[in-house]
């Protein structure tokens, strides 16, 4: 595809910013190697805008968009998708309602028409609402006593108490039971609007044809009305250690410290620092100290969580109840050591080499490229970000790392939630 890794990381010109006749903007990568089209789109505004007493509306809305639209009831709509192997799905998170579409080129017209129907003319039939409600509640019950889910849920509940991010995005069995058709219609009317959406399209379609399809789908959306602003939040209860009691032999641990948002100029140094501390390869400090040297856990790591109105550094692991104390000590000790001594020059260089070299690996399928582009658009980083990003990583200095450590590790205290029966705490 024209979005070869090399060109994608070196030259943003291969991602074209397309504006259709009706003013729909999309980031477009044309590639005809594989006869498919992948679309990713993200609407600004999500679960954080759920009614205060009814968490779960945005997620339920996302689940209902493909459950009947236009003249097709749910079954007829699903049959039209299945008959041409068109893959359409929607999801909702704190800040956004998004979705993706994948189709063979020969079914593009039908695929975009079904997408238009789902976005513009969802039916919200009562039987579909009741079915999705029952599925959602069953899903919540299925996970109710999963230690990982319990730890995460409690972490957000404590860390963002009183804030929209502290509420469960999937809702609770009680809140989901209380959601009405009017709630769904109201949220649909507000959220699924033209001015809110970022779109990326990758595949075997040229700009002219794509423009026409984009106009049909997104050009049909209503104008945008302003949403209530989600107030900025800082991670709370830092320094607390909370145990969620559940009778399992292994404790699941979640821990967090302050963070830096993706849009913040300080993000990239923090990203490099996080990679060194607990990022996703076999070489991180936590992987080495927690797993390789001590066999404390199978999985351990950290990531930078970036919401519209909050940011944090978030970590996870799981160890048998008898070794929780040792595990927490290692995690805290490595954070303190890294903040105090910093990484060696070699360690910093290796981390940058990895992050630069591996960036391209995230652009190896049409679906992944579309998703990544839509995310970058959603974050407002600009279409040139892909070209700029590796240079930003390359320029991170030891001084930048020290600043980042100050901001994300703070004084080393963290909010820790442990689900299990830890001993010796």
């Amino acid at each position: 595809m024209t979005a070869s890794i090399e060109t994608l990381s070196a030259s943003p010109t291969n991602v074209k910013v397309l504006t259709s006749a009706r003013g729909v903007e999309a980031w477009h990568v044309e590639s005809d190697v594989v006869p498919l089209i992948a679309v990713s789109f993200i609407f600004d505004g999500g679960s954080a805008h759920d009614p205060v007493d009814k968490p779960g509306v945005a997620q339920m809305l996302a689940r209902l968009l493909d459950e009947g639209a236009g003249e097709y009831d749910s079954d007829a709509f699903q049959e039209r998708l299945a008959a041409r192997a068109i893959e359409l799905s929607f999801n909702a998170g704190n800040d956004a309602i998004g979705g993706s579409l994948k189709t063979l080129v020969k079914h593009a017209d039908e695929a975009f028409e079904l997408l238009r129907l789902a976005l513009v003319e969802p039916r919200f039939d009562n039987d579909a609402i009741e079915r999705v409600r029952a599925q959602t509640i069953a899903g919540l019950r299925y996970q109710q006593n999963d230690p990982g889910v319990m730890a995460t849920r409690r972490f957000f509940d404590e860390g963002f108490a009183g804030h929209a991010y502290g509420r469960p995005t999937s809702g609770t069995p009680e809140s989901v039971a209380a959601i009405t058709r009017d709630d769904l219609i109201a949220m649909h009317r507000t959220m699924i609007a033209l001015g809110r959406v970022k779109i990326a399209v990758v595949g075997a379609i040229d700009g002219d044809n794509l423009s026409v399809l984009l106009d049909k789908v997104f050009g049909a959306l209503p104008e945008t009305k302003p949403l209530p602003i989600i107030p900025h939040a800082e991670l709370q209860k830092i320094g607390s250690r909370i145990v969620v009691d559940i009778d399992v032999p292994q404790s699941v641990i979640r821990f967090g410290t302050p963070g830096i948002a993706w849009r913040d100029p300080g993000f990239i140094p923090a990203y490099v620092l996080n990679h060194i501390y607990g990022g996703g390869s076999f070489t991180s400090r936590l992987f080495q100290e927690v797993r390789e040297k001590r066999g404390l856990a199978y999985s351990v790591g950290t990531s930078l969580v970036s919401y519209r109105a909050a940011a944090m550094t978030w970590g996870y692991t799981a160890t048998k109840n008898e070794r929780v104390v040792e595990c927490l000590d290692v995690i805290a000790g490595e954070m303190a050591r890294l903040k105090e001594e910093g990484p060696s020059d070699e360690e910093l260089q290796k981390a940058k080499d990895y992050l630069i070299g591996s960036y391209a690996l995230g652009f190896d399928t049409s679906t992944k490229i579309a998703h990544t582009l839509a995310q970058i658009a959603f974050e407002g980083l600009g279409v040139d970000y892909i070209a700029r990003r590796n240079a930003l990583v390359a320029s991170v200095s030891q001084a930048d790392i020290r600043d980042a450590a100050q901001r994300i590790f703070g004084d080393g205290r963290m909010l820790t939630v442990i689900a299990g029966r830890p001993t010796g705490l």
Partner: protein, 443 residues
């Protein structure tokens, strides 16, 4: 990473082929020492996926040493004489590459994804650990603890995973597919260096391996690089023999229950013992593949329509078939009860629906839809070089051929309604089945 891969629904089970747009221009050859090589060109980006597959998986674990295949997979990252523990990972990471490994019932595989110019380095390291693994005593204990934590995470804290294990153990009364890939807790605890080394010497040989390279390379380049790396390993003379018992003809319908206080949402599962793509005669595996899609593939499937849409007795229902296996394998039907419906009521409803498959489920639209979806998946898979590498690697590792993989869409297209009815009638029967309940216990 270093994971025990579970059989994933269809993703793992099926395969690839082309009905439009031209196919990948595949090459395959064998080195002098017996190592098989497959090259899948994909010139969209200057990267390669480098994989080595070994024709041994958990079903080859010696009796009493369940989990050794998976444990050894972890230990393969622990260094050789030339390259101490962690060096390979550091090099991969420093090159901006990604790596991982996985163990399944029938195979174990290792892979890296790197920029094309680094392929040779990957081959040097990977061929080195094919034969020069050190296994110092000091790494054994901590890594065994890692695996025990992995098992605690995946199974010991999750009643639904416990049900899955119990059902497989019940379905396979004789064959090691009934033993979990990761091994039983009490046997993992006893695995030691000697077990690992014996296993390594037996299976990690060039004759037993398959090298798959997908990406921005040519067959000639790969052959040249492979000859100068893997090609230097001395052959062992022949491929190690896998001794696999055959399942007896099943006679007993089995019912099992996992009851746990943590369960708030009951579920129902049913497994049937069925032929795999390797054991099926009369093309039954294609029929079973399509049957699973027709009766249980998503919201337009027969089970979903009957149980969820029409009767409202379930909130979800479906089916899948794990065709990719060397010996007889599993066909699964599952359902999640609606509020107030007991698992026995739901089971009765599932059985009623399954009885009507031949008469009602097999209309030509439903069959056409299922074929379209299965064939489209093979086209979608060509968008990912790592998916292609996995599809061909796993097929060869269980004894299929490249032609088998390429023929798959045509075979699926040619399945007839009568084939589906016949497969349902012969295989979805009580004596071939295990039914599992996941429910809440009193305390």
């Amino acid at each position: 990473m270093k994971t025990a891969s579970k059989p994933i629904l269809r993703v793992d089970a099926s395969s690839f082929g082309r009905t439009e747009g031209g196919g990948p221009n595949l090459s395959s050859f064998t080195l002098d020492n017996g190592l098989d090589v497959v090259v899948i060109p994909d010139h969209r980006a200057p990267v390669v996926t480098h994989m080595v597959w070994y024709r041994n998986g958990s079903a080859d674990d010696p009796i009493g040493q369940s989990g050794i295949a998976h444990f050894l997979e972890h230990l393969m990252f622990k260094g050789t004489e030339k390259h101490p523990a962690g060096e390979f990972s550091k090099v991969v990471s420093g090159l901006g590459g990604q790596e991982n490994a996985f163990t399944s019932f029938d195979y174990t595989a290792y892979f890296q994804r790197v920029a094309r110019e680094n392929l040779k380095v990957m081959m040097e390291f990977e061929s080195d650990r094919m034969t020069n693994l050190l296994l110092e005593e000091s790494v054994i204990g901590p890594e065994r603890d890692v695996v025990l934590e992995e098992r605690r995470m995946r199974v010991e804290t999750d009643p639904s995973a416990q049900l899955s294990e119990a059902m497989a153990a019940s379905l396979f009364v004789h064959h090691p597919y009934g033993i979990p890939i990761i091994g039983w807790m009490h046997e993992i605890e006893t695995l030691n260096r000697e077990h690992a080394l014996d296993y390594y010497k037996r299976f990690y040989t060039p004759e037993n391996g398959i090298l798959v390279v997908a990406g921005d390379v040519t067959a000639d380049e790969v052959r040249r690089l492979a000859d100068s790396t893997y090609g230097r390993i001395a052959p062992q003379g022949k491929r190690p023999v896998r001794v696999r018992p055959r399942e007896p003809e099943p006679v007993a319908a089995r019912h099992i229950t996992v009851a746990d206080p943590k369960v708030e949402q009951p579920t129902l599962q049913r497994l049937y013992l069925v032929p795999s793509c390797r054991t099926a005669s009369q093309r039954d595996c294609y029929s079973l593949e399509l049957l699973a899609e027709v009766i249980g593939g998503g919201p337009t499937s027969y089970l979903y329509r009957k149980l969820v849409m029409e009767r409202g007795i379930a909130v979800n229902a479906g089916a899948w078939y794990m065709s990719s296996a060397m010996e007889d394998t599993r066909f699964c039907v599952y359902a999640v009860p609606a509020e107030g419906v007991s698992l026995s009521q739901l089971e009765e409803a599932v059985d009623q629906v399954l009885k009507t498959v031949s008469a009602e489920a097999l209309d030509s639209d439903a069959i056409e839809r299922a074929k379209t979806r299965l064939v489209a998946e093979t086209i979608y898979s060509t968008d990912s070089q790592s998916s292609l590498a996995r599809i061909y690697g796993s097929a060869l590792a269980i004894g299929e051929t490249i032609e088998d993989v390429n023929r798959w869409p045509v075979e699926i297209e040619s399945v007839l309604k009568e084939d589906l009815a016949s497969a349902a009638e012969r295989y979805l029967i009580a004596r071939r089945s295990v039914t599992g309940y996941l429910q809440k216990s009193a305390s």
